[in-house]
């Protein structure tokens, strides 16, 4: 008897929970899935590109300071990485301007500083302070 009661209770609970989205909203104003639009997907792609470039920069800086990457290799690697990061940031800016109806691209979290602006690489390059090179992939 207890098994039957518990079984019925289980079935009733399950039915209510499965039907809950329709019980809460019998008529939905907008029943579409909350998916990013094409524009939003493109924005996400650009952000990924930016994050990837900044993470690579950050790790290169660290490896250079630690001595895993020497000055010569560092100089040959930092330029292209900075160009990639700058290109990603520019693309995001351009895209943001084109899609002005979309919300603005959020910057990195407050504790991570501001994104670096590309600058010519001096010879030899002095290791910058880590705090000036924020990265999404610490």
């Amino acid at each position: 008897m207890l098994a039957i009661v518990l079984g019925l209770l289980l079935a009733a609970t399950v039915v209510v929970l499965v039907a809950l989205p329709f019980l809460r909203e019998p008529v939905a104003a907008d029943d579409r899935l909350d998916a990013p639009s094409e524009a939003e997907s493109r924005r996400l792609e650009l952000i990924e590109e930016r994050d990837r470039a900044l993470a690579a920069l950050k790790e290169l800086e660290f490896d250079h300071r630690a001595g895993t990457v020497d000055d010569e290799d560092y100089r040959s690697l930092i330029g292209p990485l900075r160009q990639t990061a700058a290109a990603a940031l520019r693309a995001l800016d351009v895209y943001g301007a084109e899609m002005s109806e979309l919300p603005n691209e959020p910057g990195p979290p407050p504790d991570e500083g501001t994104p670096p602006t590309p600058a010519p690489v001096p010879e030899p390059y002095p290791p910058p302070d880590e705090a000036t090179v924020p990265s999404p992939d610490e």
Binding site: A3, V14, L20, E25, G67, E72, D73, L77, P136, E138
Partner: protein, 651 residues
């Protein structure tokens, strides 16, 4: 209460099927409420599976022998902990545990990611639903743990070799690993189905994959320890098909965990990563097929049953589905960049991947070869230990070397000059270690010598990395906290080195002897003298036992008592209880296997093994878990970043 268990399982089947079918419709037609309903059904399937599991657990603890499963796997004298462990001691119960873990993982992983990845989870729900439908169908229609009978007075009991704390923990760990691999699989398939193959699915499943990989690896070590102390053949890994079944997905997952870093960093290897995720998952289900079908001979197999065919069909269908999906979604999986140099970190990761997958497929060939010969020739030809040992050396030693080179080489490209300069200390350490080992006489085994030399190289690279990093950050704590994933990985590398030291020591440098000893007679092995002090017997309602008393003198002083037992409930004649003494000073085990013990004459036949450094294998397990935990520890900054990144998408 069996009716409640059956009803709960039927409920799970219905809910999983609903999540599958309705989930597909909702995701395809872009219908939010329907998608939420399918998601709720999947969540509820976890609830109903919990109910079914609670019914079985209660029956096991209460020794309710009206359940056929309980009567077959427990008896009244079994302690409660072992009664509960019978949950996964038999086929039906272990399948229920699989379903419980699967629906639990599905619920948690979707609940955690449902807001950030709403578009993706709409497709992940039916994937989980499909997998859960299969397992609940098998439990409802083919192999139910809730079959009942007229209750006998007592049950058959649990096999004595399974009454071991390690065996209590080993299967759940393996299941947490096997089933955990379905999380990255479901999200990867969901990403491909939705066409959203950006990196969000990787970020969402990174820790789930790491956790599954950790459980699978640690579970195997627990099983290895059980085999070492309980099974009594003198080793801990026999290349048994069922053991290999757990190793293969672990190797594939290891490859994935490395190659996914290249995708995150460079946007490369997207197709390869999808293949690895699918391979790891399919191999985990294939392992279940091996364990349950009876197609291979293994001490770990369940009795031959009818569910093998169902599993094979599921593996074939889901593999074809994954492959077709990857091929159809190739345009979404194009690489953004190319490999710039064969001397770069991404290149070493790629080499590492190729070696890991080659080792995995070599083992797979060794496992399926007997099945194929049975089908083609009508007689089973097995592949023995030399085959596996050979390929372990061929692929394992270069892997060990790469493990040292990888962390010290720059991303994108590195010059040979820089690499040599960076590796100078590790190379010097390896050379010194090699020379010292040769002087100490370790040159008797070339693979062993190479393994130790490479191990010292890897350890030196880890130390160099830590020292250099600490110069920058000022402390080890800051260094590890700054990049837990990287430094957790180094700890795991240290664990793999310890594992290699243990394996090489206990196999390449093992000493063994096998001889009869009359009463009072002695034998000497590797500086240990064992003297036969007599054979004794005991008899109880549970078992009759014969044991020898051997005094150990020389390098170690103590007594060793190997036992031959005839267990009565359940009947298990001739069980060998090995005796192991650890000589901590020399870091080696003295391992005695009783072959024959004669109480009347006092004559004994024993095998004695001296296994150097074997305890490094078990120590490696602890370090492995520690490193994995460090690598997967939640990072609040990363979470904030993800939330910030996706905020407009959710608005």
């Amino acid at each position: 209460m069996a009716d409640l268990g059956r009803a709960a399982l039927v409920c799970t089947l219905g809910l999983s099927l609903y999540a599958l079918v309705v989930g597909i419709v909702a995701a395809r037609d872009n219908r939010r409420r329907l998608a939420n309903s399918a998601r709720n059904a999947l969540f509820c399937s976890f609830g109903s599976t919990v109910v079914a599991s609670a019914v079985l657990a209660t029956a096991l603890v209460r020794h309710d022998f009206s359940f056929v499963y309980v009567a077959e796997h427990t008896n009244r004298s079994l302690p409660t902990a072992y009664s509960l462990s019978a949950f996964w001691g038999g086929q039906e119960g272990s399948l229920l545990l699989w379903l419980l873990v699967l629906t639990g993982y599905a619920t948690l992983s979707i609940a955690v990611n449902r807001r950030l990845l709403r578009d993706l989870t709409a497709w992940v729900v039916p994937v989980f639903g499909g997998i859960a439908t299969f397992f609940s169908f098998v439990l409802v229609a083919v192999s139910s743990p809730f079959n009942t009978q007229t209750a006998p007075f007592d049950g058959a009991g649990l096999t004595h070799s399974l009454r071991d704390p390690y065996m209590v923990a080993h299967p759940p760990m393996l299941y947490l690993g096997y089933v955990g691999l379905s999380v990255p699989f479901a999200f990867a398939v969901g990403a491909m189905l939705s066409g959203k193959t950006d990196e969000r699915w990787i970020v969402a499943t990174r820790r789930w994959t790491l956790a599954a990989w950790m459980f699978l690896g640690f579970g195997q070590l627990l099983g290895a320890h059980w085999a070492y102390t309980e099974v009594g053949w003198g080793g801990y890994y026999a290349w048994d098909p069922v053991e290999n079944a757990a190793l293969m997905p672990w190797l594939a997952a290891t490859a994935f965990l490395h190659s996914v870093m290249i995708q995150e960093r460079k946007g490369m290897l997207k197709v390869w990563n999808m293949v690895l995720v699918a391979l790891a998952y399919e191999l985990s289900v294939f392992g279940t097929f091996l364990t349950r079908s009876g197609v291979v001979d293994s001490i770990h197999s369940f009795a031959k049953s009818s569910i093998g065919g169902w599993f094979l069909a599921f593996v074939v269908i889901s593999s074809l589905f994954s492959l077709t999906l990857i091929l159809k979604r190739l345009p979404f999986l194009k690489a953004r960049t190319k490999l710039e140099s064969p001397l770069s970190r991404e290149a070493t990761f790629l080499y590492n991947n190729l070696l890991l997958v080659a080792l995995c497929l070599t083992i797979l060939w060794g496992v399926v070869f007997p099945i194929l010969t049975q089908v083609v020739k009508g007689e089973q030809q097995t592949i023995g230990r030399p085959y596996y040992d050979f390929f372990l050396r061929v692929f394992g030693l270069p892997l060990l070397l790469l493990m040292g080179i990888g962390p010290l080489i720059a991303w994108r490209k590195a010059s040979a000059r820089t690499l040599l300069r960076t590796l100078a200390w590790p190379i010097a350490a390896a050379v010194v270690c090699g020379v010292v080992l040769i002087v100490l006489g370790a040159g008797s085994s070339l693979p062993g010598l190479l393994a130790y030399t490479f191990c010292s190289f890897v350890l030196a690279t880890i130390v160099v990395e830590l020292v250099r990093g600490m110069r920058v950050t000022g402390s080890l704590f800051m260094l590890v906290g700054r990049n837990r994933r990287r430094y957790g990985g180094y700890i795991v590398h240290a664990a793999i080195v310890m594992l290699a030291i243990g394996i090489a020591g206990s196999s390449a440098y093992q000493t063994t002897t096998d001889q009869p000893l009359k009463l009072g007679q002695s034998m000497t092995i590797d500086g240990y003298t064992l003297t036969n002090r007599g054979v004794h017997t005991s008899n109880s309602p549970q078992a009759s036992k014969i044991w020898a008393v051997l005094d150990v003198t020389g390098r170690y002083h103590g007594t060793i008592k190997p036992v031959l037992a005839n267990y009565k409930i359940p009947p298990e004649p001739g069980a060998k209880n090995v005796s192991i003494k650890t000589d901590w000073l020399r870091a080696q085990d003295l391992y005695v296997i009783p072959d024959e013990l004669h109480p009347k004459t006092g004559l004994i036949y024993v095998q004695v093994l001296v296994k150097p450094l074997v305890n490094f294998v078990w120590l490696a397990g602890i370090v492995f878990v520690l490193g994995s935990l460090v690598a997967m520890w939640p990072d609040a900054r990363e979470q904030r970043r993800l939330v910030t990144r996706l905020a407009p998408a959710r608005a």
